[in-house]
Symmetry: C2
Subunit: 415 residues, 2 copies
């Protein structure tokens, strides 16, 4: 299996068009409406927030996908999250989906995503005018513009595309995401959109998306809060010309699944690095667990520890906090086997503290943060490596440091 | 059932002595060794950290209590947590327990608690000299001194005693705790010690302690981290003259259980208020759940949300963050029934946002923080009241706001 990165984002795969406009939904006047269209009926899959307080569009999309309807488009607005908006909010979602069907002259389904302030209704007049306008701007070149269009407080857009050759056909995946962690000053959300021009049997496509999510978006944390709108939506059509993929064990399914995971991990790392107030990306690797799921759980707990995060902001190689976070992850292990490394520094082995070059380890944290600061780079993570035993389970999680700016951003924002 | 507060802390109940000295274990030279003794064999109970990375003393105490041995004393050192210290650390715990038995000339059990830096061995020579010295200072008057002696980074000591009359006998409970939240810059811990001069059958005493903990120490959070040393130890002897309490439904058991819960809630609130960098105490009340356990879970999730905590530091009545935190607590409810109040301000009802006096609500947050700032008072909490349905389940949790100082304290501390 091999593939390469290409430009173009969500419109890199064949048969996908996008557009982004200013519809007047955001008080700031910034771009706030994005439409992503497949020229032919596409197969949809989705992963959503687990919160019981959910935006209207989350319930709408989940039901549409469960019915197995073919999908033609995804509409995403920014400015209002359409969460805690009751019957009127649910109606707004339905009305806008129907209007997109009308302007695209299709009976296929339309998925809806919203992001912004919770508890505010979307201005339906502006939204309807926006939908009638945005279809005029659809293009193959708008993938990167769309990625810029869905961000809110993010410092950088997050987009990527991959290309490979399968059975002589060129196959592409594209993706974009928004999110400054799991949660935003505006109660906005993690949204992700993925396109693929190889046709995959619907339940297999959903399985692939869930598996990729478990290794990517479900492994990042900025502050441990889950939002009301988290949605990852993926569309695949048949424009690559590759025959329908139905067998999970086939080479094509394996390759596309791996590409999908690669793409989701890239976008997830970009979100963690762009976490509110963060100065660096933290990558926690856990080895030696009984299974991958337990390893991922420990990795996520360490990456989410406020104490570990603030120590890294202080460039302090405080391994005791890493050990304590590992211990409270809800996974049983023998503490006498615990081993902790920070970059190339071995801090603890066999459950015992080791003498180590403290200033060298602190300097490692400084250097990674400096390198990481350039354009929100994800290429210089602070790497924490934890081994808990002799098992084969392993997992990775990503987070960011906890800084004064996190508190500032979230304390000073007024609803 | 009625009772009153009295002075004296852990030595208020009959038959308990305490002492606190400087044994040279802390580099600062502050008080770092506390001994609590029952003049007669006492019944012990304990609740401990759920972390698999545990201090040596946690395992030692748990085993001692499980064997059902009578307890004569509790020794607590500060400076080193004796966690991640392997076989040598375990031996230090055993050696010091035996030495306390020797100096007290008793075969009864001795419980051990440690707090301080993780991964450092306790200086055994200093500890042994300290134990031989501290027994000379035991007194009935040292309850409050002992409470001062166990704190580390806490801004105020935390102690309380209660008195009631049962069957013509005066019965007293005393308690002290340390903790600046669940976690400390020094990897120190929440420690709690309780004394009672009414004799309770061992398994009932343990049940009472667990029930009180579930409504108090298990309902506070500063940053969601669980430490390696968390221990709540409770001793009861028979010095009040009240006959042994064996029936859970008896008036005496009910009264003592309620007093124990009252005392633990007081100490727990003191810890939450003294959370690192906090400017106020937050009390989250949840009503209408199917059962108390679910209500407590939601209350704790809201109280632990970084976003809710930073909004309160910003004096921002951002109810959307409260709704979002309630939704992700892992408890199913219908969001159309959600109701949220902040102090006397109704912000959301029937799952719908309501117009409210935003500056009035913000001012409420300012006023509570100002009043709460006086001597770390717990009498002016910011009260968040959430109703999720029509059930009878209710629960309360306590936390504190997330401030620049929390990040400062935890980033600037160097191991």
């Amino acid at each position: 299996m091999n593939w390469q990165r290409i430009d173009g984002g969500v419109t890199a795969p064949q048969g996908f068009l996008a557009a982004a406009i200013r519809a007047g939904l955001k008080p700031s006047g910034a771009t706030d409406l994005v439409l992503l269209v497949s020229e032919v009926p596409a197969t949809g899959a989705g992963v959503f927030t687990t919160s019981v307080v959910r935006a209207a569009c989350v319930d709408y999309d989940r039901e549409l996908l469960q019915r197995g309807q073919k999908i033609r488009a995804i509409l995403c607005n920014a400015g209002q999250a359409n969460a805690c908006t009751g019957a009127e909010g649910a109606q707004t979602t339905q009305v806008s989906a129907r209007l997109v069907q009308e302007v695209l002259q299709t009976e296929d389904g339309v998925l809806i995503a919203s992001t912004g302030v919770i508890g505010q209704q979307i201005d339906r007049g502006k939204l309807e005018r926006g939908i009638r306008e945005i279809v005029k701007h659809l293009s193959r070149e708008a993938g990167e513009t769309a990625a810029q269009g869905i961000i809110t407080t993010d410092l950088v857009p997050k987009t990527m595309a991959l290309e490979t050759t399968l059975q002589g056909k060129t196959v592409r995946l594209g993706g974009m995401a928004k999110g400054s962690g799991m949660i935003h000053p505006h109660m906005a959300t993690m949204l992700g959109f993925i396109t693929c021009d190889a046709s995959v049997e619907p339940s297999l496509w959903q399985t692939m998306l869930k598996a990729a999510t478990d290794r990517s978006f479900n492994q990042i944390t900025v502050d441990g809060d889950t939002s009301t709108n988290d949605s990852l939506l993926a569309l695949c059509n048949d424009r690559s010309g590759l025959p329908l993929i139905t067998e999970p064990d086939s080479a094509a399914a394996q390759t596309i699944g791996a590409m999908l995971t690669d793409l989701c991990i890239y976008l997830a790392k970009k979100i963690a690095r762009d976490g509110e107030g963060a100065t660096c990306l933290i990558e926690v690797q856990v080895y030696g667990a009984e299974n991958d799921s337990q390893a991922r759980q420990i990795a996520k707990t360490i990456g989410g520890s406020a104490l570990v995060k603030s120590a890294i902001f202080g460039r302090d190689p405080n391994w005791g906090r890493i050990a304590a976070a590992a211990g409270r992850a809800g996974v049983n292990f023998c503490q006498d086997q615990l081993r902790i490394e920070l970059g190339n520094y071995l801090l603890m082995d066999q459950g015992q503290p080791l003498p180590f070059d403290r200033s060298g380890a602190s300097n490692y944290l400084k250097l990674q943060a400096e390198a990481s600061g350039q354009a929100q780079s994800i290429d210089h993570p602070v790497v924490i490596k934890v081994t808990i035993g002799d098992g084969k389970g392993q997992g990775v999680a990503w987070g960011c440091d906890l800084t004064y700016d996190y508190v500032k951003i979230n304390a000073e924002y007024t609803t």
